[in-house]
């Protein structure tokens, strides 16, 4: 609930090293994740989300988990890890937690493809 009320790492990184967008407006969920990479680690990460409370909270938690991690560690962050870190999510909300992890993975993969 705290990550919904006071989401961490909100924003965009204009000169991001990698960016990922998952979801679409028609379904009611869009999450963008931006990363900066320094010495193989995620040195900065920001997100923006249009979605329900769970989508916002999981995006915030995902960025918290990703910050300072190596790219491989970032790719290993799963929706289950995010849900666990938030002390569980209702069944109907599990798909929301996929969004943020998927957007993070997309951002990392974009960086890897460029470098």
């Amino acid at each position: 609930m705290d990550h919904f009320m006071n989401p961490r790492n909100v924003g965009e990184i204009p000169d991001a090293d990698g960016a990922g967008t998952v979801g679409n407006q028609v379904c009611g969920d869009v999450t963008n994740v931006y990363i900066k990479v320094t010495d193989g680690r995620i040195s900065d990460v920001k997100f923006k989300t249009f979605g329900c409370g769970a989508a916002i909270a999981t995006a915030s938690m995902t960025t918290e988990l990703a910050l300072g991690k190596t790219l491989q560690e970032g790719l290993a962050i799963t929706r289950d890890a995010v849900a666990d870190a938030l002390d569980g999510l209702p069944e109907s909300k599990l798909h929301c937690s996929n969004l943020a992890a998927d957007a993070l993975h997309a951002a990392i993969k974009e960086y890897m493809a460029k470098n």
Binding site: M1, M5, V10, Q25, C27, N32, F50, C52, G53
Partner: protein
């Protein structure tokens, strides 16, 4: 924390006067209204008085009032009780009608689902042209549960009458909030629910005009003149009748009060938040319904923020809010799915005050501003959001 209930289309608190009226019917006058002894007769008298009260509230005869378990059962009874044939309804009916129609389609009926305009109104001309030789019934809700649009019921009733077709209306949301005249509106059947009018849950009624042929859903001991078997819920029915009489008694003060609060809320939001739209009809609308669409934000996130501030609202209808499918009503008025997700329904009630609305107007701009600040849909560099956030 202050708690403000703005979800009266979902359900209402039972009026304290109604509760007091019901209490003797649990442990004292508890008899089975079918029993011949004095316990049973007492219950039967209470039932008769309640039927008279509901009949008076509608301007009907007692023999035309059949108590049911609520709006859903009344809708089912009205449609399934009529012999098979062609049914005309609209795309924005309550699921109790739409899903009953789908069931009947699988059982030999043919159903025409009429579109509505951007305000949610059915065009009576479309009804007239949809009538066929085998059309048995037209079912159009009096007022919509999500957007509050009030249909031209009298015109539709006249068309039905002129064409010899039965006319049913679901008045669950409208009763006590806009005028219902069974005669002027040529209504043959009408569904009512108690818990939407400050009565208890689990009780309602179907008005069936004298002479209308209708078959029961429930077979058994022949209660309710054979149309609805099952021992009557006397306490619930007594409470429902009290709630119905209060709704009529307070009709003018309620509608005036609700209209004032509605306008205060709509105008207040429009004045303080940019990129907001009113869903539904600007004038042909229930006095207690405010359905607003906020661009760039998602409704459920707004609902959660409001809930954390003690304010209860709804996204779409409460019955279906477990699903994230866009509202069938908002789709029918022509909104794109991406716009529907930002819609919130506030439904006001008798106990709400202007202080309640002020409180909502005080917290809403900040909530919308906060969510827009994290929304990827707000275009970069725009100053959109709320004037305060």
């Amino acid at each position: 924390m202050k708690r403000i209930y703005l979800d009266h289309a979902a359900t209402t608190a039972v009026d304290r006067e109604v509760v007091q009226t019901m209490i003797p019917y649990f442990a004292e006058t508890f008899g089975n209204a079918s029993s011949l002894h004095s316990f049973g007769r007492d219950a039967m008298h209470a039932l008769g008085a309640a039927r008279q009260t509901v009949a008076d509230a509608l301007g009907a005869e007692t023999g035309e009032i059949f108590f049911t378990s609520g709006g859903t059962e009344s809708d089912n009874l009205a449609l399934k009780g009529v012999e098979t044939g062609h049914i005309i309804t609209s795309l924005i009916e309550h699921p109790a009608i739409l899903n009953t129609c789908r069931y009947l389609e699988n059982h030999g009926c043919d159903v025409t689902y009429l579109p509505v305009d951007s305000g949610g109104l059915v065009d009576p001309g479309n009804i007239e042209s949809a009538i066929r030789n085998d059309t048995k019934i037209i079912s159009i809700m009096h007022a919509n549960n999500e957007i509050g649009t009030i249909q031209p019921i009298a015109e539709i009733g006249t068309i039905a009458r002129d064409n010899g077709v039965l006319f049913h209306t679901d008045a669950v949301q409208s009763f006590g909030k806009t005028e219902t005249d069974l005669q002027k509106m040529n209504i043959d059947m009408l569904s009512l629910s108690s818990h939407k009018i400050y009565g208890p849950k689990g009780v309602g009624a179907l008005y069936v005009r004298d002479g209308t042929e209708i078959e029961p859903l429930m077979h058994g001991g022949g209660h309710e003149s054979g149309l609805r078997s099952g021992t009557e819920n006397v306490a619930g029915i007594v409470g429902f009748a009290k709630a119905a009489s209060l709704a009529i008694e307070r009709f003018e003060s309620d509608t005036r009060h609700l209209t004032n609060l509605r306008e205060m809320l709509i105008n207040g939001v429009m004045d303080t938040i940019d990129d907001v739209h009113l869903n539904g009809h600007p004038t042909k609308r229930l006095p207690n319904n405010v359905n607003l669409r906020f661009d760039f934000v998602e409704g459920e996130a707004m609902l959660l923020h409001l809930d954390l501030r003690g304010i209860a609202v709804s996204t779409g209808s409460a019955c279906s809010s477990a699903s994230k499918d866009p509202s069938h009503v908002l789709l029918a008025i022509g909104l794109a799915p991406e716009n529907i997700h930002g819609s919130i329904r506030f439904t006001l009630g008798r106990e709400n005050t202007s202080e309640d609305i002020e409180y909502v107007l005080g917290v809403l701009p900040e909530i919308v501003g906060k969510l827009r600040a994290i929304s990827p849909l707000v275009s970069k560099g725009s100053s959109r959001g709320s004037s305060s956030g």
